[in-house]
Assembly symmetry: C2
Homo-oligomer: 233 residues x 2
């Protein structure tokens, strides 16, 4: 299973753990299987990473930190070039999606593992692992919400925030299990085809973001109608 001789044991563990966590999640992955795959002793994990949670943290940090930096610097470059003019929604989305879908600088086997890892982490049930991502994620959220708000001045904040959640969810789901998607769509969708995934997302998310906001009156009217029907207050 090892694709190439690892330069050092630490990297070997990180690579094996990356695949294991991406495939089975934090609880589902076992350190014993990871060290067997990496060709190192179990105690080595504790020497380098202190605990299973420490290993997960290192695995995520190695990939997500540069990814976030690429996204934020891409967004920043866009804003610099525009000099105060509102940006195209699609251009903003490109700086968010393209680094994620492409994951430059990593080999093809690792690249696919990292994409699955992102999806897995987004949907991770373990509260400790979730907690590790709250802070970095909130930096991203704020930057993209600000940029999008300038481009969509007529969209109320709650609508924009909901739409961003839908985008995180759809992105995470697609990355999570490419094999499943290819199977259930009978090969119509090929998640490995980065350019197609990107174009499809841009169209769908772009149109969704630019849709008219949800009317507050309509919402209130429907809510009371529903309440009357189901008999709740």
């Amino acid at each position: 299973m090892t694709t190439s001789p690892e330069p050092d044991r630490k990297t070997a563990i990180l690579d094996a753990a990356e695949t294991a966590f991406a495939d089975a999640g934090f609880e589902g992955a076992s350190l014993r299987r990871i060290v067997r795959e990496a060709g190192v002793n179990l105690a080595t994990v504790y020497y380098y990473f202190e605990s299973k949670e420490g290993l997960m943290l290192a695995v995520m940090d190695r990939r997500f930190r540069p990814l976030r930096e690429e996204q934020l610097s891409g967004l920043d470059a866009l804003e610099q070039a525009a000099a105060g003019q509102p940006l195209a929604v699609e251009a903003i989305l490109e700086t968010l999606l393209m680094p994620t879908l492409r994951l430059v600088g990593t080999g093809s086997v690792r690249q696919e593992a990292v994409k699955r890892l992102i999806g897995r982490v987004v949907t991770e049930p373990n509260p400790q692992i979730q907690q590790l991502l709250v802070r970095p994620h909130s930096v991203m959220r704020t930057a993209y919400l600000q940029a999008l708000q300038l481009s969509l001045p007529d969209l109320p904040m709650p609508d924009l925030v909901w739409r961003m959640e839908f985008i995180w969810g759809a992105l995470g789901f697609i990355l999570c299990n490419p094999a499943k998607i290819e199977m259930v769509t009978a090969g119509v969708c090929n998640p490995a085809d980065t350019e197609t995934v990107f174009q499809q997302m841009i169209r769908f998310f772009g149109a969704g973001l630019k849709a008219a906001p949800v009317s507050r009156q309509r919402l209130a009217a429907r809510r009371t109608a529903t309440a009357r029907k189901t008999g709740r207050a």
Copy 2:
């Protein structure tokens, strides 16, 4: 923790397991904690459900079967009333989303657990559990793809299929961890507010589905440009 006296042990186990699987996933949930919560003996699980996997199957079947039936009968009623006329995209989406977000007939504690369970199951890593959902899911997929294709005759099948995957993903993510969403959005999004979630989804998904298809020429052009830049064939 037990909210009400359970009529029978089987139901008590199902209820406790539902919450456990929804919160921790299949691997993360422990039978010993489930039986402690349900107030029954460990062996009872094996008497009624044969195995942990059998329990998971029963937990899913109890909720998802009636849910699917409600969705499909809602879509069917819509098609009958339209008598061959293409349906409004939003109306189709409503029959898909509303039963999921509402989950009629269940109490509030259970209702929230079931919603989390759906999200959890959609992103479940364990291949055995995934396998259990392939067949019922494919029935749903086909029905909704057919209905949407009639309403969106100019949208090529691949585009429609991709967009449906985005919708499953976004829906699953929102259901998966409502507490996390409420926290990261600082209370701007309240996933318990069914009517708002529904309206926001209808707007976003409806606009996304009705967007122009991805141009095949543009895709081909970008693909060669990207390949040239990154140096791949």
